[in-house]
């Protein structure tokens, strides 16, 4: 059990080391990388199976008891996040094996991906605020490196924005973590939760938490601090931007969910503010997307908009709403990464990602049309795909809570999402290619990419048709989130030296 809990850290770390050592043999790097990602997926699924039974697993790194050593915690939410991270990571690595002229497809890609995965998984399983900061930095520097991979003026320009704004965010996080320690004397989330629940912390601790949540909001790309995302995601190499789109903002969302549910389990001012932020994020994001004329830019703005849905679930704070947020997280990661992948394939086949310069895919590559339709419709919340259930639960939770405006915004956002998706469909797929047959590019060597995309699309369908078990899991996860006592007990009961 000790081993399984840290395996989300150790597996990608070991893969990173091995791929670095084997970096002169490209085939070995790919094979190791794939094996590592598969192992991570397996570990994540094993954790899900264990967590599904309802027990919260906690371990003290180094064996030192709770406030002194660092706690690692696996509950249903973090187990699910680790598993989904493994899945998206695997898909990314498989996709990257496809033929591509992009200079980013070099030897550094694989170790960096696994470095990023260490950070992502670490953020999901840690129970310590400062340790969370460290994992944020790991995934941040990994993302810097991946974003700029391959170089070029445009990519570098996007990287400048991304790096500077994210550095500000991360420093605010560090500042907040320091203040939180200074005010409460603890960095352990469970013990902080205990102190907050007992009202034993000074006002400054609450203020520090607000600053911390602001930093997370930047990472999660909430309104009004999401500017870095649509300024940078579209410049990266396709697998990189897909990986980012799937995972990175969701780490911020996860952190928001974790901290808010632990420290402020009861609805209060913060939830009120979050509710408005969520509504604004949904609307502004989806409107921004409507103005875009490139595939990845459309998708980037939609990330923002959909993060709003998740935060809506968090802000409503009812069990059903939290379950909706969890379900949305799981569904969104798969779907969003997949859409970026498919956008990349579409660009490969048409020679551009500007909608105006694309076309003809419907007649030429019907398989791609099917593969696009699944995540696109899911994103727009069309039943019976995964996105429908996510949206349905959140709308229902809003209506149950008499949050009429939130429900209306969630629905209106849905129709705009449908508009964006049908725009891509009409322009890139239905419309004939503006350059005629001459504009069509070969699909040679794309087989791994198609595998990756097909697998994720199958997952979307499976989550939609088999929504029952997934929803049960999400509701059970939300129950754990809604009752932090269980989390606290799991950590404090786990003694140490």
């Amino acid at each position: 059990m000790n081993t399984l809990i840290v395996s989300p850290l150790l597996i990608p770390l070991a893969t990173l080391v091995l791929t670095l050592l084997a970096r002169r043999i490209p085939r070995a790097v790919s094979a190791l990388s794939l094996a590592g990602a598969l192992a991570l997926t397996a570990a994540g699924l094993a954790l899900v199976v264990i967590a599904a039974q309802g027990q919260i697993l906690a371990v003290q790194a180094g064996g030192w008891a709770a406030p002194y050593g660092i706690t690692l915690v696996i509950d249903r939410l973090s187990a699910a996040m680790v598993a989904i991270t493994g899945i998206v990571g695997t898909a990314t690595i498989v996709f990257a094996m496809a033929r591509d002229e992009d200079p980013a497809r070099g030897r550094d890609f694989h170790p960096l991906v696994h470095g990023l995965l260490v950070g992502v998984c670490g953020a999901f399983i840690t129970g310590d605020v400062f340790n969370l900061y460290v994992w944020f930095e790991v995934l941040l520097v990994g993302s810097f490196a991946l974003l700029v991979l391959g170089g070029g003026k445009r990519r570098l320009a996007g990287t400048v924005v991304y790096v500077v704004l994210n550095l500000v965010a991360t420093m605010m996080f560090l500042l907040a973590a320091g203040m939180l320690y200074g005010a409460s004397g603890s960095l352990n989330m469970a013990l902080l939760a205990q102190a907050f629940a007992a009202d034993e912390v000074p006002a400054s601790a609450h203020a520090a938490v607000v600053l911390m949540l602001t930093a997370f909001s930047i990472k999660a790309a909430l309104f009004p601090v999401f500017g870095w995302l649509p300024a940078s995601y579209h410049v990266a190499w396709t697998p990189v931007s897909a990986l980012f789109a799937g995972l990175l903002t969701k780490v911020g969302v996860y952190a928001l969910i974790r901290i808010v549910t632990l420290l402020w389990p009861d609805a209060g001012v913060a939830h009120e503010v979050l509710l408005w932020v969520a509504c604004a994020t949904m609307l502004i994001g989806v409107l921004g997307a409507a103005a875009q004329v490139e595939v990845r830019r459309i998708l980037s703005f939609h990330i923002v908009s959909q993060v709003g849905y998740m935060i809506l679930g968090l802000a409503l704070a009812t069990p059903l709403a939290l379950a909706g947020a969890v379900f949305y997280l799981i569904h969104h990661i798969v779907v969003k990464a997949n859409l970026f992948f498919i956008g990349g394939i579409a660009a490969r086949l048409t020679g551009s990602e500007r909608l105006a310069a694309m076309g003809g895919l419907y007649a030429r590559a019907p398989w791609l049309a099917v593969l696009f339709a699944i995540p696109a419709l899911s994103l727009a919340g069309i039943p019976p795909l995964s996105g429908f259930w996510a949206k349905f639960v959140l709308v229902k939770a809003s209506l149950d809570a008499s949050a009429w405006i939130a429900a209306a915004v969630a629905l209106v956002t849905g129709i705009f999402t449908l508009l964006s998706m049908s725009k891509i469909w009409n322009e890139a797929f239905l419309k004939p290619h503006p350059a005629g047959r001459a504009g069509e590019r070969s699909a040679a060597g794309m087989r791994p990419a198609v595998w990756a995309v097909s697998a994720l699309a199958a997952m979307t369908v499976a989550i939609g048709l088999g929504a029952g078990p997934v929803m049960d899991y999400a509701i059970a996860a939300a129950d754990q989130l809604g009752a932090p006592a269980g989390y606290i007990a799991a950590v404090t009961a786990n003694g140490g030296r």
């Binding site: 670095l20 470095g115 950070g119 005010a183 039943p383 929803m471």
Partner: protein, 908 residues
């Protein structure tokens, strides 16, 4: 029931490969699926007709109370028969109509998918399951409308239909959720009308559900998508836009009539909107010159009338609803298919070019004649009964009924005129001018219209048959209470008959005077100018313009604007946090330690240095002042008795300056011209002051009270006994909180990899082979060798003693890196690499492996990750934390070296 949906879905899956293999003959095979379903439903008729219901259910998302429950009552049976029966004919028809199309297989797939969804919609008893199928019909109809995808018109129409029906669908979703919440059940059959009607949310539910139904059934003002959807191939129009999809909205209204109907608002809205729709549709129908569009608008008329009939909620009204539903489905599907056949055979659908087709296409002509009679409401066709009952139902309402009856007479007369256009104008009279020679179509194309048209006659003539098997049960299902049903052709001299005669007379008049009528209508220019389509286009344009404005706020591409807004937002949220958590009073710290003069000086130096770096123009000054600032910080740390932090800060500062110097050396000497604009400067200053003030305030809040908790003391107490080290800070780093450190060296490693790639990009310089010219003299080079060896030794000492005295893996690694830098600068990168033997990347990897491996040792012994394990050879404590520190050392060294060597290789 699920089986019949599944069967059709299965047919959908095999359609594309099948169509590939056997062209249009695939249609005959595929039609077997809906045919089988049709027969299945026929066999259910006795049960349902005798008042029984058949249910089946399958769990789906139990946590949300959603299940795939189906319920076959009179209403669903009626619809199911229409869907599968007409569906069978359409599949046959489509095979012939699109026989040459290269995507015929896809067409079958979409059509069958739609059929399955539609069937699910009318059979579902679960609100949410019904909604699932509802949305699926929207999506599949999108695919069908856009089938001729290379035409911009098709794409636009498809998008319009999707957005309008999809938007309505979202309102419906909200309505259904509220309905389920209020009505106490997620099954249509379990809703309790009384509770719903009395609930405060009833108006909201009604509005939302009606928006959903009206968009789907093309009621004013959402009607515009339907005529545009005629861009679809004719089989689609015949199926979706006459008999099935557009009826989904009407179906939903009928289904919810027991639960929601009965209120005044229900009746008022339905009758008003329905009447308006019928009128608008009729007026627009008569203006059309394209036969298919004429039919499209008459469909709008009928949908309006059906809505209106549901609104009456009278016995006659509900009977009329059921009769008219069937009658219309029969004749409209027949007419659409026939018009498609005409189009197929003659190459045109323009009324002005058509005429005298009877001699070329006698079979189609007969079918059209029969269907048109039913359409015109002439006895003894089913359409006649429908019309009679319509009037009877409306007249029952009293005064409002008379007004609506008048509207109805007008619209029905226009319908009759339209029917005249379709039959008389097209098939009789003089020969038209055709693009190609007309000929009769094949059996697959005329059998459908013929069967349906004859059906309209049979049901009219032998109306007790229809009553017994279909209409009675359907009416009971719609009404929710028992309604006596009795169909007849001849009901005596009633007001309804009078209205009927008036309709026929007026209709014939309209047909004969159609040219003048059209001219009259086109005089209302203003009216046509504000057509729905134009409003739609304007609306979309507005939305996109607004969206662009929003997007521009975030896509200005200016880093400074990004930073400005980000920082302001952070400050804003932080301020909210401060105010919300403290109320409005800020406490000045009363518990604080005495002033430490050295630390104060350090603070001053740090701030002064930073200020210098912020305003100094030259690069050298910039680097120097920045270094001074860092030095000041190190002073603060040292003065505060934190030697490890101070040393680390110093080492980092040194390396920072080295890196800066190396990078800046190669940069173009040009300075940026000009400075920021004064206004921008002021704005930026304000931002900086705001964030600085907020941060200071929060810091003051934080330190205003004593630090709670005993953690510090615990570390001091346990460092030696537990961690075997006297340097508590180091023990925390490599043992108590070693996981942080593991993450941290990973950051260093990854940054090293990433930065090296960037630093090493560009043209290779001669730094690779030779040393730097700054170290030109041999003497100097000879001096550097021992110096770097000394530094390397010191670094090892620092590493070793770190556990007990200031030092450790970080500091040691940084010092060792300095040694390597000296070597590389003096002798060139290649020599340095040779001396090192191990490539920096490998060193980095091994370091990470060592650090993680030191943690794994604990795991292997069943302890938590990173648990320290010690042995004491000769009393000397050796343990995994030390191994961990070696890993730190190697990672830091490897990463810094990797970056430096890559940078130097590109140096001139």
């Amino acid at each position: 029931m699920l089986a019949s949906i599944g069967l059709i879905a299965l047919a959908m899956l095999i359609a594309p490969p099948l169509a590939c293999r056997m062209d249009q003959r695939a249609g005959w095979l595929l039609a077997l699926a809906p045919l089988a379903a049709f027969v299945h439903f026929l066999t259910q008729m006795p049960v349902v007709a005798s008042g029984g219901v058949i249910t089946s259910s399958l769990a789906w998302v139990p946590a949300l109370g959603v299940e795939l429950s189906f319920r076959l009552d009179g209403l669903s049976l009626l619809f199911a028969l229409l869907i599968t029966g007409i569906g069978t004919l359409i599949v046959l028809y489509a095979g012939a109509y699109l026989s040459e199309h290269r995507h015929l297989g896809r067409f079958y797939a979409y059509l069958l998918a739609f059929m399955a969804a539609m069937l699910g919609l009318v059979l579902a008893d679960d609100l949410i399951a019904m909604f699932v199928f509802w949305e699926l019909t929207s999506v599949t109809s999108f695919l069908l409308i856009a089938f001729q995808h290379d035409k911009a018109e098709s794409r636009r129409a498809a998008l319009q239909a999707l957005l309008i029906t999809g938007g309505g669908g979202l309102a419906l979703l909200a309505g259904l959720i509220l309905l389920g919440n209020v009505g106490g059940s997620w099954q249509f059959s379990g809703l309790s009308p009384q509770v719903i009607a009395d609930h405060a949310l009833y108006p909201a539910i009604l509005t939302l559900v009606l928006i959903g139904a009206f968009t789907k059934s093309a009621q004013v003002p959402f009607h515009l998508w339907l005529p545009n959807a005629m861009a679809a191939p004719t089989p689609v129009s015949a199926y979706l836009h006459s008999a099935t999809m557009v009826k989904a909205g009407v179906y939903l209204l009928a289904r919810l009539n027991p639960a929601l109907g009965g209120s005044t608002s229900w009746s008022t809205i339905l009758i008003t909107v329905g009447a308006a729709t019928a009128l608008v549709g009729a007026v627009l129908a008569i203006r059309q010159t394209d036969l298919k569009r004429v039919l499209a608008y008459t469909t709008v008329v009928v949908l309006g009338q059906l809505t209106m009939l549901l609104g009456t909620n009278t016995h006659y009204g509900l009977q009329a609803f059921a009769i008219y539903l069937v009658a219309h489905a029969f004749y409209k599907a027949a007419l659409f298919m026939a018009v498609g056949a005409v189009d197929h055979a003659t190459g045109t659908r323009q009324i002005s070019q058509l005429g005298g087709l009877m001699r070329h296409m006698p079979l189609t002509g007969v079918a059209v004649a029969l269907a048109a009679f039913s359409n015109a409401g002439l006895p003894p066709f089913f359409g006649f009964i429908a019309k009679e009952f319509k009037y009877a139902g409306l007249i029952e309402l009293g005064l409002a009924g008379w007004i609506t009856t008048a509207v109805m007479i007008l619209t029905n007369a226009l319908l009759l005129a339209a029917a005249g256009l379709v039959f008389v104008r097209t098939f009789l009279g003089k020969e038209g001018r055709y693009p190609r020679a007309p000929h009769e179509v094949g059996i697959a194309m005329w059998i459908g219209p013929m069967l349906l048209a004859v059906g309209g006659f049979v049901f009219g003539a032998f109306n007790n048959l229809a009553e017994l098997w279909l209409i009675d049960a359907a009416v009971q299902a719609v009404s929710g209470a028992t309604v006596p049903v009795n169909l007849y052709l001849w009901g005596g001299f009633t007001p309804a008959l009078l209205a009927s005669l008036l309709t026929v007379a007026l209709g014939v008049f309209f047909y004969l005077q159609r040219t003048r009528l059209r001219r009259r209508l086109s005089l209302w220019r203003v009216l046509w100018r504000v057509s729905g389509d134009m409003i739609w286009d304007r609306l979309l344009k507005r939305v996109f313009a607004f969206a662009t404005r929003i997007a521009d706020r975030f896509q200005h591409g200016s880093l400074r604007q990004h930073i400005s807004w980000l920082v302001l937002a952070i400050a804003g949220f932080a301020l909210i946090g401060v105010v919300a958590s403290t109320g409005d009073e800020l406490v000045w710290p009363d518990v604080t330690s005495p002033v430490n003069v050295a630390a104060l000086l350090g603070c001053l130096l740090a701030v002064a240095g930073a200020t210098g770096a912020a305003v100094m123009p030259g690069r050298v000054a910039l680097v120097a002042t920045l270094g001074a600032s860092g030095l000041g910080l190190a002073m603060v740390f040292l003065a505060s008795r934190a030697p490890d932090v101070a040393i680390t800060q110093l080492m980092v500062e040194t390396l920072t300056v080295i890196f800066l110097a190396l990078v800046l050396r190669r940069l173009p000497p040009t300075k940026l011209v000009g400075s920021r604009k004064p206004a921008a400067k002021r704005f930026h200053a304000v931002i900086a002051i705001i964030i600085g003030t907020v941060v200071s305030a929060m810091m003051l809040m934080t330190v205003s009270q004593p630090l709670p908790g005993d953690i510090a003391q615990w570390y001091l107490d346990n460092s030696l006994p537990g961690g075997k080290g006297a340097n508590v800070v180091n023990v925390i780093l490599v043992d108590f909180r070693a996981l942080d450190t593991l993450g941290e060296i990973l950051v260093v490693g990854l940054a090293g990899l990433a930065a090296a790639t960037l630093l090493g990009a560009g043209k290779p310089g001669k730094g690779a082979s030779e040393g730097s010219s700054d170290f030109g003299s041999v003497l100097l080079r000879q001096g550097i060798l021992p110096l770097s060896a000394l530094l390397a030794l010191i670094s090892l000492v620092l590493l070793w003693r770190g556990h007990n005295l200031p030092g450790g893996g970080f500091i040691g690694g940084l010092v060792a890196a300095c040694a390597a830098v000296l070597l590389a600068l003096a002798f060139g990168v290649n020599r340095a690499r040779a001396v090192l033997r191990v490539p920096p990347v490998a060193m980095l990897a091994i370091g990470l492996a060592l650090a993680a491996g030191a943690g794994v040792i604990g795991l292997l012994q069943g302890q938590p990750f990173l648990t320290g394990n010690w042995i004491f050879p000769a009393g000397l404590p050796l343990g995994t934390p030390l191994l961990f520190d070696v890993g730190v050392f190697l990672t830091v060294l490897g990463a810094v070296l990797h970056m430096l060597l890559c940078l130097l290789e590109r140096e001139a």
